[in-house]
């Protein structure tokens, strides 16, 4: 017994030292993936990471890599736990530290400082720290195409449109159902600001992370207050529960809108037809009806390399695709400046910052309609085009409805800068100049 223990401990010590030795494989672009396919958020993770991985495979199989440099990715399972995420980051950063997309607010917050210190960019696509949109204070953090605050303003703009104009917001009452976690609380300051500005009121309904599946009291209250619109900021098991409860109290589903982490197949499937009419924000198109899927089928699915074929075409799968597409485009941009070789974190950061995905480029990628154009700049890491699409569930699948809704950047940006300045002051950072 004792022998076993000591050898296990010894093995661990050895393991650490072996792991940490950097072995930069020549000629491949190494990309780390902090995945979660187990634990409470597994269902969401499975689809997202399948999308990310399939796109890398597509680039490798179809184009032979990025400008001839093959992509080599490694996965590290975090289970959505922050400490495992940090360990995964440290484990992968030497060999694979090029760009991180953890798809977890907690992990993103924990590695922001580390990544900045290690000169590795973090691409938190539509999540994570909102104030990181200020590229002067957060040079290594990117959260385009849109932050939570922009999203909140866009959702309010959409609701106004649905109700018949911005002036119709006055005197209305909304319900805001959110996960009781930093992620869920993020939009509250903006709802406050907008409530004051447009004259509406809203009630807050936090859902604790430990009882995501028990929301009866919330929906009883909503049944009593009869809000004009319900807005949800949920994740994981909270979403299907909320949608089902809403349906069972006969809440008008077309007056219930989730953010873009509350609008995927896994959220509505359990409710099925009952969820018909439910809307959610989206940062990209839904379904498989894009030219890029023809290539995916030919180069990835038909060669039986799909990571999880069942989720292809799902909202979160598409999000993974778009995430990888942005990463690949950023690397391509960086290669234009630094040459066709594997890019380091620092170089990819430059690529991210000078990323300009135009409509023409999106057409070449076969993603027209899947993702809107975006242009990132040194000062603005949120991109020049924050806003949302709105999608609606018809009982069997999601449909895009209406046009792109731009965010109210005029009220978001000042607060972003103010929060970033506060962070800079606390940390003693001098914001770099972007002019």
């Amino acid at each position: 017994m004792k022998k076993f223990v000591t050898s296990a401990l010894a093995a661990t010590l050895v393991a650490g030292s072996v792991l940490a030795t950097p072995v930069m494989a020549a000629g491949t672009q190494n990309i780390p993936l902090l995945v979660y396919r187990t634990g409470p958020y597994a269902a969401n993770g499975i689809a997202i990471f399948a999308g990310m991985i399939d796109y890398f495979k597509l680039v490798n199989n179809r184009d032979g890599g990025i400008n001839g440099v093959k992509i080599k990715y490694t996965e590290c399972e975090t289970g959505y736990k922050t400490d495992r995420g940090v360990e995964c980051y440290d484990r992968t950063k030497d060999e694979y530290g090029s760009i991180y997309s953890p798809v977890s607010t907690g992990i993103t917050y924990a590695i922001i400082d580390k990544a900045t210190h290690d000169k590795i960019p973090v691409f938190s696509m539509g999540y994570g720290r909102t104030s990181a949109a200020d590229g002067r204070v957060f040079p290594y953090i990117f959260n385009f195409p849109s932050t939570y605050w922009s999203q909140a303003t866009a959702i309010i703009r959409y609701i106004a449109k649905d109700l018949g104009g911005m002036d119709k917001l006055k005197g209305k009452n909304f319900a805001f159902i959110y996960l009781d976690h930093p992620y869920g609380k993020e939009p509250i300051p903006f709802l406050d600001i907008m409530a004051k500005k447009f004259g509406f009121t809203y009630d807050k309904y936090p859902v604790p992370t430990t009882s995501m599946t028990e929301q009866k009291s919330i929906w009883l209250q909503i049944r009593r207050t009869k809000p004009d619109y319900a807005i949800m900021w949920g994740w994981g098991a909270m979403n299907p529960t909320a949608i089902k409860e809403a349906a069972s109290i006969h809440f008008p589903m077309d007056h219930f809108i989730g953010n873009w982490w509350s609008g995927s197949e896994v959220d509505v499937k359990a409710a099925g037809m009952l969820a018909k009419g439910y809307k959610s924000a989206a940062m990209h198109g839904t379904g498989k009806n894009y030219p890029v899927y023809t290539d995916l089928k030919k180069y990835v699915y038909d060669t039986k390399q799909a990571d999880n074929l069942a989720s292809a075409g799902d909202v979160l799968y598409n999000r993974g695709l778009v995430n990888s597409a942005y990463v690949v485009e950023a690397i391509r941009t960086a290669m234009k400046k630094f040459g066709n070789k594997p890019m380091t974190g620092e170089q990819i950061r430059w690529g991210m910052e000078n990323l300009d995905v135009t409509a023409a480029r999106i057409k070449e990628l076969g993603m027209t309609g899947l993702t809107p154009p975006v242009k990132v700049s040194c000062a603005n890491h949120e991109g020049n085009n924050p806003g949302i699409f709105v999608q609606q569930w018809d009982g069997t699948k999601w449909h895009m409805i209406g046009d792109f809704i731009p965010a109210m950047s005029d009220i978001v940006r000042p607060i972003v800068e103010q929060e970033a300045a506060k962070y800079a002051k606390e940390k003693g950072i001098t914001p770099r100049s972007c002019s």
Partner: protein, 358 residues
């Protein structure tokens, strides 16, 4: 042969009451401390230092804390995460309110806050024990985390609610925040751990420690011989929470760099309890062994297929990791319910004779 107790003569009572009465033990401990203080920082990689050793040491502090409560005083607690969170949030609050205050004092103050909270939640222990008490301590877990996420004052009204640990220095070395050198951070955590472990070891041998153990072994008998359950149970809660509070503060400041609630959720409480049980109830050494085992074993399982060049999907590895981890846990409990510390002493017994058994 290799482990010798014989020939170690004491001439004063003081020497007889020393913390490590056997010379060999003393030298062993000193060597281990020196190795970890000098050799390890020189040899180990940054990954080892910052993602393996630092968290293991911090968790050891928490495990010592819980061991004081559960192992020595016999009170089962599942509120460890809540007490750690108290330490973390209060350290952040104190540190930002008094930026000039040395981090060591910040830690102590945060520990004291956690101790007060611990006393408050320890009061039910006067009426109940066993699993009833364990479930009641869950109240601390849920209530405290709720409080910290609900009241923006604790995070200085930060909009996101996840403040970043401020950079703080000790003797000119940066020991918190991501910009600090992993070696500095490791040494800082290591020294604190050693000091706290020595204090705990001494506490356990002192009057107060004997009071705890008397209460643990039979509370009514202890009461009859004049030990007051009120004071001894509540001191156990206070000191245990103090340790947990410091561990929580270090976790946020020296390891993950942010103060966030999910780091101290219910799973953390269970994890620490595991460490204590696997390590050995009522053993300081066991707390270290348990922390190392529980923290490292999953990671080891996770990376192991890679060494053998096996291309197994990461998901499968994690599922197998959970299964093996659960299985190992049961296996250990069956084979050695007294924990790794017990294995250690069995090993010492063996070394006394080995390799000449007669």
């Amino acid at each position: 042969m290799f482990y010798r107790e014989a020939g170690d003569f004491k001439t004063t009572y003081k020497a007889d009451q020393a913390i490590f009465p056997i010379a060999l033990d003393r030298w062993f401990v000193v060597t281990v401390v020196l190795v970890f203080l000098v050799v390890v920082p020189l040899l180990a990689s940054n990954y080892m230092l910052e993602s393996i050793l630092t968290p293991v040491l911090i968790l050891s502090i928490a495990a010592i804390g819980l061991n004081i409560l559960t192992g020595y005083a016999g009170q089962l607690s599942l509120g460890t995460g809540g007490f750690m969170a108290t330490g973390a949030y209060m350290a952040y609050k104190i540190s930002t309110a008094f930026p000039g205050l040395n981090i060591v004092f910040v830690l102590i103050a945060a520990g004291l806050c956690a101790a007060l909270v611990g006393i408050a939640f320890g009061v039910p222990s006067l009426r109940i024990k066993g699993f009833y008490l364990a479930v009641t301590t869950l109240a601390a877990q849920f209530f405290l985390l709720w409080l910290f996420t609900r009241v923006p004052w604790f995070v200085n009204n930060s909009i996101s609610g996840v403040p970043t640990a401020p950079p703080r220095k000790v003797f000119g070395f940066l020991v918190s925040s991501a910009d600090s050198d992993p070696i500095d951070r490791y040494l800082f955590v290591f020294i604190i751990t050693v000091v706290l472990a020595l204090v705990a070891k001494n506490l356990a041998r002192s009057r107060i420690g004997r009071m705890w153990m008397a209460i643990r072994d039979m509370d009514i008998a202890a009461e009859i011989i004049g030990i007051r359950p009120l004071t001894s149970k509540l001191t156990a809660f206070a000191i245990s929470s103090f340790y947990c509070g410091i561990a929580g503060a270090l976790w946020s400041f020296a390891y993950i760099n942010t103060v966030e609630p999910t780091a101290f959720d219910i799973n953390r409480s269970f994890e620490i309890l595991f460490m204590v049980i696997i390590g050995g109830l009522g053993s300081i050494l066991g707390s270290f062994l348990g922390a190392a085992f529980i923290f490292l074993f999953p990671i080891l399982l996770n990376v192991m297929p890679g060494w053998f060049g096996l291309e197994i999907s990461v998901t499968l590895v994690t599922q197998v990791e959970l299964m093996v981890f659960g299985g190992m846990m049961i296996f250990f409990l069956i084979v050695e319910p007294h924990g790794l510390a017990r294995l250690w002493s069995i090993g010492k017994e063996k070394l006394r004779l080995w390799p000449f058994p007669h």
